[in-house]
């Protein structure tokens, strides 16, 4: 009994920390519709800045807490800088495009933190006056954790007062419900967005600063927390602060008690909870359906006519170059070209559901990974050759897509994307933990192509043929009646249903098709590498796919192709020649985002073919 009480208190303390960070994210999303990937980085900066401040100060409670607040304010100002200098310029870009920009910020902050604070973990001083423990039911419980337990509800109360008792709060609530209406009533949106960003970043910074007395400050903090914070935000309902509190509580308590029953399941528990919640309540615990399903950026009628002649010529030239150049170059050119071509198919498959289908996915790597594992497992357990593996890959990935799609396609926007992430994480943890079958994190080795394709030139040409065929097939599907139905479903659900399109079924089919093509890419990748690992289905791979599509331009068919080539080529070159390649990569991404808010291919289309709306 005592034990259960203490464990409950432990859960409460974790919930408070999680809530602070998640509330900031949910407020930012609610108003600006920006999925702020850099929120974890702001949290990390809060911790590092607080650490730097309190280490300089004498051990005095007043000074200590002033230092913590100062750090949170500093992070708030950094948040404002990000909003004013970067995000403000791209609010009118297509949905989720801001994610790309904030991802660039993540990369830059990672390297800046390494440069300023060094590679070693830093343990900050404990809070003065709260170093010890108190006895609760015969068990010692840290005083600081008690304070944290109190801080969560206090912040919730303050936020509630702020939102209900001030004019600013009323405006924020109004903007969360209907942004266009608030603008129509003459409220200065710029100022509102900037102040909301300050508050969100301040809360993230405060969450980080409060961790200093509790846990070490490390360079991994940003990415360690971001996935969990997204989950809390979505489970609670995006834009809902009380929802974030409830979700933080739910997930933290499940953790605290879950480790007693299933100590090995912590990796996936959070995502299981999210999957269950979203299947039952598609908009989170306290969320409500958005008034405008697609609030950010106008939807444009695109991709209706066949490619202009210049584009066809460019495509043929590119294909000719893709056949000739790698064969003229060395082995490494062929290795690189093989990877790029595979990623083109991977990005095209995501674009298929994301562009025409409007189904953004944060977990597309799952199908890439399922395809790769299908080939590798058949080889490992049954000795099946590459040809069989390549046939099995789209079947396995497509089957996974059908299964997941069943739950997913009823949802919209970010909720849909987060549910795909939850399923991807469940697949990832199966690959990671089911050691008997998958080899765990050590993966499966020796997944090499059949003898006839062993030569790197031959394998490259084979991959090129498969991927070009796959990409063209997807392109064809978009121009087929199926593609028109899919776009109709995206643009207006009601009208599409009125003319007899079964919206859910069309979207479901698109989801499965995209998954199957990703599976082909995954299997080709596995045979190119000779091995598969759980990293193939991990979040970074999903994010890569998303970035490629966004970078290239979601509103064009050539977007994913351009995006994959630019993103992968850039990363590969920077890693080779620049030590601080993450910062360089981040800056390049930010530069591209500012220069091409419609994506690179979108920019070329707008300028080159004079079809722009401006």
């Amino acid at each position: 009994m005592e034990f259960l009480v203490i464990q409950f208190l432990n859960g409460l303390a974790s919930a408070s920390s999680l809530f602070l960070v998640a509330s900031g994210l949910t407020i930012i999303f609610g108003v600006t519709r920006v999925v702020n990937f850099a929120h974890g980085s702001l949290y990390m900066l809060g911790a590092y800045i607080a650490l730097t401040i309190v280490e300089q100060l004498p051990r005095d409670p007043w000074l200590y807490w002033s230092g913590i607040l100062a750090a949170a304010v500093a992070v708030g100002i950094i948040g404002v800088a990000i909003e004013v200098l970067l995000l403000r310029r791209i609010y009118h870009a297509p949905e989720l495009f801001q994610l790309l920009a904030t991802f660039g910020v993540v990369l830059v902050i990672e390297d800046v933190a390494l440069w300023i604070w060094g590679p070693e973990d830093r343990l900050g001083p404990r809070a003065p006056g709260l170093r010890g423990a108190v006895e609760i039911l015969g068990q010692r419980f840290p005083q600081y954790e008690l304070l944290l337990i109190a801080i969560g509800p206090i912040v919730l109360l303050l936020l509630w007062l702020l939102f209900t008792r001030t004019r600013w709060g009323t405006l924020v609530r109004a903007a969360t419900q209907d942004r266009e209406m608030v603008a129509a009533l003459g409220v200065d949106q710029k100022w509102l967005f900037t102040s909301v960003f300050f508050l969100g970043a301040f809360l993230a910074g405060l969450g980080g600063a409060l961790q200093v007395a509790r846990a070490p400050t490390t360079l991994h903090m940003d990415l360690d927390i971001i996935a969990e914070v997204f989950v809390v935000t979505v489970v609670g309902g995006m834009g809902s602060v009380p929802g974030a509190f409830l979700a933080a509580l739910l997930i933290s308590e499940l953790h605290a008690f879950g480790i007693m029953v299933f100590p090995k399941i912590t990796l996936v528990l959070t995502f299981l909870v999210m999957a269950v919640v979203l299947v039952i309540r598609p908009y989170g615990l306290l969320g409500r359906p958005p008034t405008h399903a697609r609030a950010a950026g106008p939807v444009r009628a695109i991709m209706l006519e066949p490619a202009p002649r210049a584009l066809v010529a460019a495509g043929v030239a590119a294909l000719a170059a893709a056949i000739v150049l790698p064969l003229m170059g060395g082995d490494y050119a062929r290795i690189m070209a093989t990877e790029m071509v595979i990623l083109v198919l991977f990005a095209a498959s995501l674009h298929f559901m994301m562009g025409p289908g409007g189904l953004a996915s944060f977990g597309h790597a799952a199908y890439f990974g399922v395809g790769a594992y299908a080939g590798a497992l058949l080889l490992k357990h049954l000795g099946a050759p590459m040809e069989i593996g390549l046939l099995a890959a789209p079947l396995a990935a497509g089957a996974a897509g059908i299964l997941v799609g069943f739950f997913v396609v009823r949802l919209e926007g970010v909720y849909l994307a987060m549910l795909t992430l939850a399923f991807a994480q469940i697949a990832w943890s199966a690959a990671f933990q089911w050691v008997d079958v998958t080899g765990g994190d050590n993966g499966i080795l020796g997944v090499w192509p059949s003898a006839w394709a062993k030569d790197k030139s031959v394998y490259y040409l084979f991959v090129l043929a498969v991927c070009v065929a796959g990409t063209l097939a997807l392109r064809h599907a978009i121009h087929a009646p199926f593609g028109y139905a899919l776009r109709a479903a995206r643009d207006n659900r009601l009208r599409a249903e009125a003319i007899g399109i079964d919206v859910d079924r069309v979207r479901w089919a698109a989801f499965a098709v995209a998954a199957a093509f990703a599976g082909i890419a995954g299997a080709l990748f596995a045979y190119a590498k000779g091995s598969v690992f759980p990293t193939y289905l991990a979040i970074p791979k999903s994010v890569d796919a998303l970035l490629m599509v966004l970078l290239g331009g979601i509103e064009t068919l050539s977007g994913p192709i351009v995006g994959a080539l630019v993103f992968h080529g850039l990363q590969e070159q920077l890693v080779r020649w620049v030590e601080h390649w993450r910062a360089a990569m981040g800056l390049v991404i930010i530069g591209l985002v500012l220069a091409f808010p419609q994506g690179i291919a979108g920019f070329v289309r707008d300028r080159g073919w004079g079809r722009g709306r401006r």
């Binding site: 590679p119 509790r214 846990a215 090995k264 912590t266 490494y332 690189m336 933990q433 000779g530």
Partner: protein, 441 residues
């Protein structure tokens, strides 16, 4: 940091100039392709790179290898095995390196090892701790420097058997390094002290330990002793919560890697006292070779060496010794030279040998107790545990490692024969065991 960056840029520039078609005759530099998770694991790998550069400069100052300079091309795999494989290909085909080295995570190490085996290139794995690297998935072209998970668990099991503790709890990160360290420790300790019980096992996700809840769960089981495998941020978190809640009071704790400065120094004055740990008491080792190494390192980088520095340094030293012995950069001859190669580690505790039997080096680790001195943790009462003494017998190793050349690992014939006798087990149980026994650092 500055100097380091310059060296890096120099290496990069050299790599650019030296692109594919360089004449590779007598006098051309010998190139090492070094792949590591520099951005993902900077705490270990920044000192590692310093140690590496120090040894490289020393070797070149001493005239290189038969008049040929040594060069390094660094690549950052960012912790992704698939990127490591790509860089292995790039280094060999585009940069024309003569051998590969590096690897921090075990899956990265295994991926490079498989690539090396396929392409018949020498790979000197410096850091990955996975047992599979030299045993279950060992191959002709892969050699490993650091004491493996098995070896370090065996060192601590030996100490744990000496204390009077029956009820044990285990806290270990939830991936293969943690799982296999826990498994070996249980197996070895049970064999040495048949009466022990394992009453609680916690496997927090790497980097995301819920420390308060974990401490409470361990406390709940009322163990006499704890075996800890967490490191880095998880360890710091665990220790702070455990200290405040009195988890470690009157309990024996054996802890993997905790004595390494990389993980002990961040604990500062909260470093727990009386834990038995493996580690590296850098300021106390007074062998002639280590004194020389420490002084040179401090002079060169104005910082003290971490364990990573020693690993980086020793990797280069052993490669240099191999090149002198082989007298050529022909891969097969280099592999032959690596077998049984003896070199002097920066530890200075006598020659270290890459065993011909399984390609594992006999480098050891220091085992001692933690204590606080001057506001930070140090190791006391330590001894050097020679790696050669913490490996299974040769007969057993032969059963663990695929014998006879490279190629994918054939099924393991027999299971480890310990005190329990060599009874053969069912096939699936054995397979599971070897999948589980791999780990990473």
């Amino acid at each position: 940091m500055n100097i380091e960056r310059r060296t890096f840029l120099a290496a990069g520039a050299a790599a650019t100039l030296g692109a594919p078609a360089i004449a590779r005759g007598q006098g051309a530099a010998i190139r090492i392709g070094e792949i590591n998770s520099y951005t993902a694991q900077p705490a270990f790998l920044a000192p590692y790179r310093n140690g590496w550069n120090l040894a490289l400069e020393e070797a070149n100052a001493a005239g290189g290898i038969g008049g040929r300079r040594l060069e390094t091309v660094f690549r950052d795999d960012a912790g992704k095995p698939e990127d490591a494989v790509r860089f292995a290909g790039e280094l060999i085909t585009a940069e024309k390196v003569d051998l590969l080295s590096g690897g921090f995570l075990s899956n990265v190490g295994l991926a490079i090892a498989d690539y090396a085996n396929q392409n018949k290139r020498l790979y000197v794995a410096s850091e990955p701790l996975s047992d599979a690297l030299v045993w279950g998935k060992g191959n002709r072209y892969t050699f490993r420097l650091r004491p493996s998970t098995y070896m370090q668990a065996a060192m601590l099991a030996e100490e744990a058997a000496k204390v009077d503790a029956k009820r044990w709890a285990i806290v270990s990160p939830n991936y293969e390094y943690g799982q296999s360290a826990a498994k070996w420790f249980k197996e070895l300790l049970t064999r040495m002290k048949p009466g022990v019980e394992f009453v609680a096992e916690q496997f927090p996700a790497l980097g995301r330990i819920d420390a308060g809840a974990t401490v409470q769960a361990v406390e709940q089981a009322r163990p006499d002793a704890i075996f800890n495998v967490t490191f880095g941020g998880d360890l710091t978190n665990f220790v702070r919560q455990g200290n405040t809640r009195g988890l470690f009071e009157k309990r024996f704790v054996a802890s993997m890697l905790t004595g390494e400065p990389e993980y002990m120094d961040p604990l500062k004055d909260e470093c727990p006292e009386g834990w038995v740990v493996t580690g590296y008491p850098w300021d106390q080792i007074q062998t002639a070779n280590h004194r020389r190494f420490r002084e040179a390192y401090q002079k060169r980088f104005n910082d003290y060496p971490r364990l990573g520095s020693v690993v980086g340094y020793d990797t280069v030293v052993s490669i240099v010794a191999m090149l002198r012995k082989a007298g050529t950069t022909d891969t097969e001859k280099m592999v032959d030279a690596m077998k049984g190669l003896a070199f002097e580690s920066a530890f200075g505790e006598g020659p270290v040998v890459y065993r011909a039997l399984d390609h594992q080096a006999t480098l050891g680790a220091y085992v001692g107790k933690t204590t606080l001195k001057g506001g930070k943790g140090i190791m006391v009462g330590w001894r050097y545990a020679d790696g050669a003494k913490y490996l299974p017998s040769d007969d057993v190793v032969r059963t663990l490692r695929p014998q006879g050349g490279g190629g994918p690992a054939p099924a393991v014939r027999r299971v480890l024969r310990g005190a329990g006798g060599g009874r053969p087990r069912r096939r699936f149980a054995r397979d599971r065991r070897w999948n589980f026994s791999s780990s990473s650092s």
